[in-house]
Amino acid sequence: MHTATTAAPGAAARTGTRTTRVIGVLALATTAFVVVSAFFLTPADSVQGDSVRIMYVHVPTAWVAYLAFITTAVASGFSLARRHRTLGFDRVAGASGEVGVLFMAMTLLTGSLWGRLTWGTFWQWDPRLTTTLFLFVTYVGYLAVRRIDTDPRQRARRSAVIALLAVLEIPLVHFSVVLWRSLHQEASVLSPDGDVRLDDLMLFTLFAGVAAFTLIFAWLVIHRQRLTALADIRQTVGLDAAIALRRSETRGVVK
C-alpha cells in the first residue's frame, strides 16, 4: 500500500502527504454532512423516536470495522507471502487492526446505548451481540500478540496467522441473525420488514456515514502505518549506533 520508507530523512518527519490531506478534508466534510443530516434533516422513527439517530454511527462503525478486519487479513496474507522481504504489509495489518478494534468498540458502545433506549437494557444475550463481542475479543487478542516484544518478523508471522483465522468470524457475526432466531435488527437496510423503516434520506445519510467512517479509517490507517514505519526507521538508525557501540564497547575491555 503506502510506504514511507522511500521518503528523504527530512520529509520523513511528517506522516501527512497531499493524499492524506485530501482524504482528511473529505472525511471532515462528509462527517459534517452526516452530523447535520442525522440530527436535523432525517425524521425520527415512528417506533423508536429520536434514538434511531444512533444508527448513523452504529451501523457504519460496524461495517467499517469489518472492512478494517478484512484489510488486516488481506495485508496479513501479503505479509505472509512475502515474509522474507519488508514489513510494510505487516504495518498496514497492524494499523488496520487497531482502527478496527476502535470502531468495533464504538459499535458495541453505541449498540448498548441504543439497546438501553429501545430494549431497556445495555445488553441482551443475542447471537449478533454475542458474536460481535467474540469478534472484538479476538482482535483484542490479536493486538495482544502484536504487543509481545519479539523479533518483528516473528511477530508479523504470528499475528498474520491469527488475523487470517480471525477474519473467518465476520461471516459468523453477519449471518448469526439468520442462524439463530434473534432480537437484533435483521437486515433492515435490505428488507423493509424491520422496526426501522428507512426512507431515502435516511438511507442516504446512513451511507454517507459509511463513507465518512471509511475515509476516517483510511486516514487513520495511513497515518498510523507511516508512524510505525518511521519508528522502524528510527530503530534502524538506532541499530547503526548500537552496532557501533557494540563493536567498540567490548573490544579490548575484556582482556
Binding site: 487478542g141 496467522v161 480471525a166
Partner: protein, 226 residues
C-alpha cells in the same frame, strides 16, 4: 506422513507414561460439568444444558491438553530438533493434532457417557449415528484449531493465559454447533435431527478450513523463536 505418526506416537507415549489426560483432565472436566450445574443452580437441568456442559467442559479441557502438548516441546527446546528432523513442519502439525484428537476423543466419550447417566438420556437408532458423527467432527475441529493456536503461542512468555484468549473466541462457534447437534442427538424438543445434521455439516467445514489453514500456517509459525 511417517513423521506425523512418529510425532503422534511420541505424544501418546508421554501421555501414557504421565497419565495426564486420563488421570487429571478427565476428572477436571467432570468437575467443571458439576460446578456449572451448582453455580447456576439450574433447577430442571434440561437436555440443552446437558449437551452444552459436555462441550464447555471439553473446551476448557482442550486448553489444558494443548498447553501440555506444547510445554513438553518447549520445556527443553525439543521442538528445535523435532522441526529440524521433520523436514516439513506440516507433518509435525498433523502429528500433534492427531495425538490431541485421540486424547480429546477419549475425554469426550467419558463426558458424553457421564452426561447420559447424570441426566438420564438414552440415545438409540439414528441418534447414535448422529452422536458419533458429532463427537468425531467436533473433536477433530478442536484438535486442529487447538494445535494451531498452541503453536502460535508456544514459547511465548505467559502463554497459559494467551492461549484461551486467542483460541476461545475461535472455538466458540464449534462449541455452539457441537452443543446443538448433541442436543438433537439427545432427543431435545427444541431442535430436530435434520437441524442436528446441518450443524454437523458446519462442524465439518470448520474442521476442514482449520486443517488446511493449520498445515499452511504451521510452517511460517515455526520460523519463530528469536
Amino acid at each position: 506422513m511417517n513423521v506425523a505418526l512418529s510425532v503422534a506416537r511420541k505424544d501418546l507415549q508421554i501421555e501414557w507414561r504421565t497419565r495426564m489426560v486420563l488421570a487429571r483432565v478427565v476428572p477436571f472436566a467432570l468437575l467443571v460439568m458439576v460446578l456449572f450445574a451448582v453455580a447456576l443452580d439450574s433447577e430442571p437441568l434440561v437436555l440443552r444444558a446437558a449437551a452444552g456442559l459436555v462441550w464447555l467442559a471439553t473446551l476448557f479441557s482442550t486448553m489444558l491438553v494443548v498447553q501440555r502438548a506444547f510445554d513438553i516441546e518447549t520445556a527443553d527446546a525439543a521442538i528445535d530438533t523435532l522441526l529440524a528432523c521433520a523436514v516439513h513442519p506440516a507433518r509435525v502439525f498433523f502429528g500433534k493434532a492427531l495425538a490431541l484428537f485421540v486424547q480429546l476423543f477419549a475425554l469426550v466419550v467419558v463426558l458424553v457417557t457421564a452426561a447420559m447417566v447424570l441426566y438420564g438420556v438414552t440415545v438409540s437408532g439414528s441418534r447414535v449415528v448422529l452422536l458419533v458423527t458429532v463427537v468425531i467432527s467436533a473433536t477433530s475441529g478442536l484438535a486442529l484449531v487447538g494445535t494451531l493456536y498452541g503453536a502460535v503461542v508456544a514459547n511465548m512468555n505467559g502463554r497459559d493465559s494467551l492461549l484461551p484468549l486467542l483460541a476461545l473466541p475461535v472455538l466458540a462457534p464449534l462449541l455452539i454447533g457441537a452443543s446443538r447437534a448433541t442436543e438433537a442427538a439427545f432427543g431435545s424438543q427444541t431442535i430436530d435431527m435434520a437441524n442436528g445434521w446441518a450443524w454437523v455439516g458446519l462442524l465439518g467445514v470448520y474442521g476442514i478450513v482449520f486443517g488446511a489453514a493449520g498445515s499452511a500456517a504451521f510452517s511460517p509459525l515455526t520460523e519463530s523463536d528469536s
